[in-house]
């Protein structure tokens, strides 16, 4: 008989806010929102406690709007290092139950408990034990969805477990349609607001409506994405949680929201240079070079959206600032309309192995490679500000501010 899979998705409730409450018990039971610094234009809510959510506060709202909804709300600055530590602690707890733990984000992790029944007993009971252990050891409320594949576990967690007092729900192939098909189409994993709009225009209002369409229709309209959505509507998922099963990254990128509107081209170019260096550093750490560079620029005026997003193929694959930056600057100078800028981004895609490249008669690549490697070694050992370009000391430079951040938020 084929063994039934038991995949769990464990999700920490209001993770950042829960960590703050775990560290400072006086915050328990109070409306708390973790929010960036409005002075640095990071004043949006990253996580809201259950009590704050009761007032209508949601992640992504600006701080002033939260204050309007809930005047007694307590704002706390993010502590990203602490959140990473807690996330890792959760991984350690999960690893006591199975060695197949795959983090999906900082607050969500997949666990494969297939074949562990003789060791731990029924997966439902194991899930409840995990919930208890995370609460007792970390003071964080964890919700768990159980399914026969990662998709079912994700749907069970997001759509049902989060709304239940016992924080647990199970879906399987037999019960999937009965529970999931009546849900609105936007609740299906993988459907964003634009796709929801497309589907609603086709009178597909529930997940069941999509499931009942012939699979050729979504596949013809949206290719592999359409087929994937149709499979998701049926609870079918071929994803693997095996280590190393994930495809290698297609690109690396960095973007930055600027602390004020930048209007001077040399200031914007300084940030672009810093981002290029950071992107190249990451590409080199992966042992890759990029073949295409992409520059993104968002205008400061929300009422009249401006900016651009353009890419260009590099003359030859590269992963060092001096080779990539000229193309970045060229793209910026060609497409920037001269209006103030609020955010910029640089990414490298079309990654190829850094060890193999076409030799050039006139370009001594081994010298730039050796220089890049030496710089990487210094930065890895002493931090990103140990060695930097002089431009970072000018008024536009963001290197030192960015070095104090993780994921764009305070360490």
């Amino acid at each position: 008989m084929k063994q039934r899979k038991a995949i769990l998705l464990a999700d920490a409730e209001s993770f950042y806010a829960s960590v703050e409450a775990a560290q400072n018990p006086s915050l328990r039971g109070k409306p708390v929102a973790v929010c960036g610094d409005p002075a640095l234009r990071h004043g949006i809510v990253l996580a809201a406690s259950r009590e704050a959510k009761a007032y209508g506060v949601k992640a992504g709202q600006p701080a002033w709007e939260c204050r309007r909804l809930c005047p007694e709300i307590i704002f706390i600055r993010p502590h990203m290092e602490k959140y990473l530590e807690y996330s890792l602690e959760m991984t350690r707890i999960f690893e006591q139950f199975t060695d197949r733990v795959v983090p999906y984000s900082i607050d969500e992790q997949f666990l494969d408990l297939s074949g562990c029944e003789r060791l731990w007993g029924d997966p439902r009971e194991t899930a409840r034990r995990i919930i208890r252990q995370v609460w007792e050891k970390l003071g964080i409320r964890c919700r768990i969805g159980l399914g026969e594949n990662p998709l079912q576990a994700k749907m069970a967690c997001d759509r049902f477990a989060k709304k239940r007092a016992d924080a647990f729900f199970e879906l399987d192939s037999a019960s999937y349609a009965a529970h999931v098909w009546p849900l609105p189409i936007g609740d299906l994993f993988g459907i964003g607001t634009r796709m929801e709009l497309h589907l609603r225009r086709m009178a597909v209002r529930t997940i069941g409506h999509l499931a009942r369409l012939p699979r050729e229709i979504p596949a013809r309209l949206w290719g592999v994405n359409g087929l994937l959505l149709w499979l998701n509507a049926h609870g079918i998922d071929y994803s693997s949680l095996e280590a190393g099963a994930a495809p290698p990254p297609k690109g690396v990128g960095h973007c930055a929201t600027l602390p004020r509107d930048y209007a001077a081209p040399e200031e914007i170019e300084t940030v672009l240079l810093e981002l290029t260096e950071a992107v190249c550093f990451r590409a080199r750490a992966l042992g890759k070079m990029g073949t295409t560079v992409h520059v993104y620029c968002r205008g400061a005026d929300f009422n009249h959206p401006s900016g651009f997003s353009r890419q260009k193929k590099l003359p030859e694959p590269a992963a060092s600032g001096p080779e990539v930056y000229p193309t970045v600057r060229q793209l910026f100078r060609r497409h920037w309309d001269g209006r103030p800028v609020r955010a910029v981004g640089v990414s490298l895609s079309g990654l190829v192995n850094r060890r193999f490249y076409q030799l050039s008669l006139f370009n001594r690549r081994e010298i730039t490679d050796a220089l890049s490697d030496a710089m990487d070694e210094i930065r890895e050992r002493f931090g990103p500000t140990a060695l930097f370009r002089a431009a970072s000391l000018t008024s536009g430079g963001q290197l030192f501010t960015r070095a104090r951040l993780i994921g764009g938020h305070e360490r």
Partner: protein
């Protein structure tokens, strides 16, 4: 079939580079702990048992499976012990390909070959 069909969660995973680095560090530490656990030196009781098995092998030709560490790597030999060299303590084992000499201090496990 496209990659996305098999990796929809890997494709949509949102992981900070710092989180990835912390996880990689954690996995390395765990692997190191596991390595140390597996390669811990044998205790008194195990040494006594090894002694008994070596004697049986030398007297009655019992084939042994010997696991030892060589430059940090695990190596496995299956054969019959036929001589023990003192100063430094080494064990000569007759394996299929010939004779190997294993320093006794390098042995981390010794059992009767199946």
């Amino acid at each position: 079939m496209k990659k996305k069909l098999y990796h929809q969660f890997a494709c949509s995973s949102l992981m900070l580079p710092e989180h990835r680095a912390a996880l990689a560090r954690h996995r390395r530490e765990e692997a190191w702990k596991e390595w140390q656990r597996r390669h811990a030196p044998p205790d008194e009781q195990q040494l006594e048992q090894f002694q008994r098995l070596v004697e049986q092998s030398m007297q009655a030709g019992l084939p042994l499976k010997i696991t030892c560490l060589e430059k940090g790597r695990e190596r496995c030999f299956t054969g019959v012990a036929h001589r023990r060299q003192p100063h430094p303590d080494k064990l000569q084992v007759q394996v299929q390909e010939g004779t190997v000499t294993i320093p006794l201090g390098a042995i981390i496990n010794l059992e009767a070959a199946p």
